[in-house]
Each structure stands twice: as structure tokens, then as C-alpha cells.
Symmetry: C2
Subunit: 212 residues, 2 copies
DNA sequence: GCCTGTGAAGCTATTCACAGCT
DNA sequence: AGCTGTGAATAGCTTCACAGGC
């Protein structure tokens, strides 16, 4: 497996979703410029991204939708699937659960954690909620490899440390404070405050130019 | 105003938050390596970012915390402040409202919109909820310049079009579909599904390396 | 003619390394 | 000695432009 650039990984995930919609519409073949249009990218960008899958397209006919999806699955999914733990079942945590309820079976949130005991042992959106005290045990038992941090900034680092100690290899972080983790663990930050201030800045200063 | 790179704008927002915590702890001066530590960046990165503020540091003493914050305010904030509209008051929308309730007064969500009439006219987290039909009127009246799209993918583009028509100059988009907007409008995507699949990919494939 | 795949060029972002200040 | 500010080097990403295929 050759090294895939992070931005490309993200866009492959996007392409797959768009392709899935196309397939539902009965579309068999697609051109790079069609995908580019839907993805708000350029055709060159799309072709460059798809290069990591090996040659997939046919001159003048474009890409076979079915085959493309399969090829992206091959790259992004792991055959046994991966399970995800969500820590922090507040407003945001519940929104995330609702978002993912019954999406990709290969990538499911199978355990939630909260330190509020009234939430523990409940089942929200088909996901069982546990007490954070049981975090390590549940993660080991379910073979969870990915964690979502949706707790206040003050406790985010402590939660991340627990997740890492429990063997998690990737973390999506919603807390507005960068996490310190060993280099073997991959972190993606979703800092809502930061992003909103960025939007506000460009809303104020933009004369031309846009979209990321 | 010289052009500031997007990544730098984001990090300035982060630095400001970290500096604010330091100030609360009574810290007067800070070195680039201390800020870098808290921001999970390198000292060189921090100094490079702070260059857009002009020379601020003192050799051997570092940066005056108070002055730095003021300089960042100067760049990021607009004196009259900016108001934000949130469209879609579902799980995610409410989480965002809770997140921002009473944060920066210079950047506040002052109006929410939903097409569910039972939600309209209510006040959630201090934010008045309107019917989407009144979107243009309310945005004009309150002088709103930034929109947050927190609706399902199917209606995201329609909502974005309405926001743009109403005069909004920046959009934070949570829907998992890229928005088509004119180049005068700045969009930042917060695609939770995409990010999570990215994390899952690197959780599986990472032997070394990490953090963004 | 119109498409894909891709080297090469162009751009943006990060890191290095060091001169200058205190 | 230890810091900032910054040219210069490097790395990463996107766009151009065209050879080759149907």
C-alpha cells in the first residue's frame, strides 16, 4: 500500500458518497468532470486523487461507478470493519450519534461513555452508554480502534490519555484544545470555534476568492 | 491589510484562546515555545504566524500576553462585531447553540431558523428561533454576515442559496455535501463523516507519524 | 473529439538555520 | 545564553498541459 496524502483520503470518502448517490440514480459511468462538479473540485483534482486506486477509467467513457466504489471501499475500509467509541454524551455527542445511526456498518459507533451516572446503562440511538470508569474494559472487549472526544476542553486531554492507554489508534477531537498524543495515534481536530472565527474573518475581508 | 494565509487565521484564533487562559493564570510574558507547546505546534510555526501582527516580541523576554491578545483582536475582530444565523435547529444545531452561548460577544449567534413551525418563535439558549420563511428579512434587519448550515444534506444547497441571496458573506457547513456558492462567499466545511473516515483510515494504516 | 493518466510547473505551508538584540 | 524575526530550503498540494487511447 503506497502512502496516500491525507487530503486525498478525505476526498475519496466524499467521492464515495457522491458515487453512491449516482448509483442510486441508476448511473453506470461517470466522467471526472461530473464528479468534480458534485464535489466542488476540478476535474484534474479528481483524476489525480483517483490515481491512488490504479488506472480505473476508460478513455471517452469515464469511470465505471460500481467499480470505482468497490476500489474506494478496498482502500478506505478494513475487511473486519472498525468500531468507534464516543466519549461525552451531551448535546454534541447525541448529535453525532444521530448523525451516524445506521450509516456505514463497517464503521459504527458501538459504545458511548459519560461520567454522568444517570446516562450510563441507557441506550441512545442504538448505542449503549457506559460509565467512563469502564472505558478500558469495553474498548478492549469490543476491539474499538477509534475514539471521538466530545467533552468540555477541561477534560479533553484526560479523556484522550485514557483512550490512548486503552489502545485506540485514531481520535476525532471536538474539544477546542489540541490533544497531546503519541505519534502512533492520529488526531483530527474539529474545532468549531476556530472554524467559525475563520469564516467570520473571511466574511469580513474577502473581496474575491473562496471555498477553502 | 496584507493577505493572511487561511491556516494562520485559524491558528491565531487558537493562540488567542490559549493566551486568554494564560492571562487568567496571571502570566505576563510568554515564549514562542510555550505557546507552541500548548497549541501542539512548533516554535518556528508560532513565530511565523505571529509575524502577520508585526514585530511583537522582545528578545529574551518573549511576548507580552496582554499586547498579543490585543493585536490578534485587532486582526480577527471587526469593531462593530458580526452576527451569525444558524439554520437547522435539530440535535446538531442545538449543540452548536449550547457551544456558543455567551462566548465572544463580538461574534454571536443572534438568530436561529427551522422549518418546523413548532420550533419557531421559541428561544433556545438565548437565541430566538424563526421560521425559514423569514430568513431574508431577519438577516437584513439584524445585519447578519455569517451563516451556519446544520440541516440534512438534501436541503443544504437550498439553504445556502437563501443565505447567499440574503447577503451572507461566509458559511460554516455541517452538511456532508459541498456547497456551490459565488466566489465572494467563503465556505468552511465541517464534514463529520469525512473526517471520521479519515481518522479510521489512519487508525488502520498508521505505523508512525500523526497529528493532522 | 473527448476522455484518462501523468510529468512538469506553480503555489502554499512548514521547517531550518542564523543574524541581531538584550 | 537564549530569545525573536526572517531569508532560504524543503515538503506537500493543486493546476497545467499534453501524450495516448477509444
Amino acid at each position: 500500500m503506497t502512502r496516500i496524502p491525507p487530503k486525498t483520503v478525505g476526498r475519496l470518502s466524499l467521492y464515495r458518497r457522491l458515487l453512491d448517490l449516482m448509483r442510486q440514480d441508476g448511473l453506470r459511468f461517470v466522467y471526472s468532470h461530473q464528479l468534480a462538479h458534485d464535489a466542488a473540485a476540478t476535474p484534474a483534482q479528481v483524476r489525480r486523487d483517483l490515481m491512488v486506486l490504479g488506472p480505473m477509467g476508460t478513455s471517452n467513457k469515464g469511470y465505471d461507478v460500481e467499480e470505482l466504489i468497490a476500489a474506494i471501499d478496498e482502500v478506505l475500509d478494513s475487511p473486519e470493519g472498525q468500531r468507534i467509541a464516543l466519549v461525552g454524551v451531551g448535546n454534541l455527542g447525541r448529535a453525532i450519534l444521530a448523525f451516524f445511526a445506521g450509516r456505514r456498518p463497517r464503521l459504527a459507533i458501538t459504545a458511548g461513555f459519560d461520567n454522568d451516572p444517570t446516562k450510563a446503562a441507557r441506550v441512545i440511538m442504538g448505542c449503549r452508554i457506559h460509565n467512563v470508569a469502564d472505558l478500558a474494559a469495553v474498548i478492549a472487549q469490543e476491539g474499538i480502534t477509534v475514539g471521538i472526544v466530545a467533552v468540555p476542553a477541561a477534560s479533553a486531554q484526560a479523556v484522550a490519555d485514557k483512550l490512548v492507554a486503552a489502545g485506540v489508534r485514531g481520535i476525532m477531537n471536538f474539544a477546542p484544545s489540541p490533544l497531546k498524543v503519541p505519534p502512533t495515534v492520529h488526531v483530527e481536530d474539529m474545532d468549531i470555534t476556530m472554524t467559525l472565527e475563520k469564516v467570520a474573518y473571511y466574511a469580513k475581508h474577502n473581496k474575491e476568492k473562496a471555498v477553502k
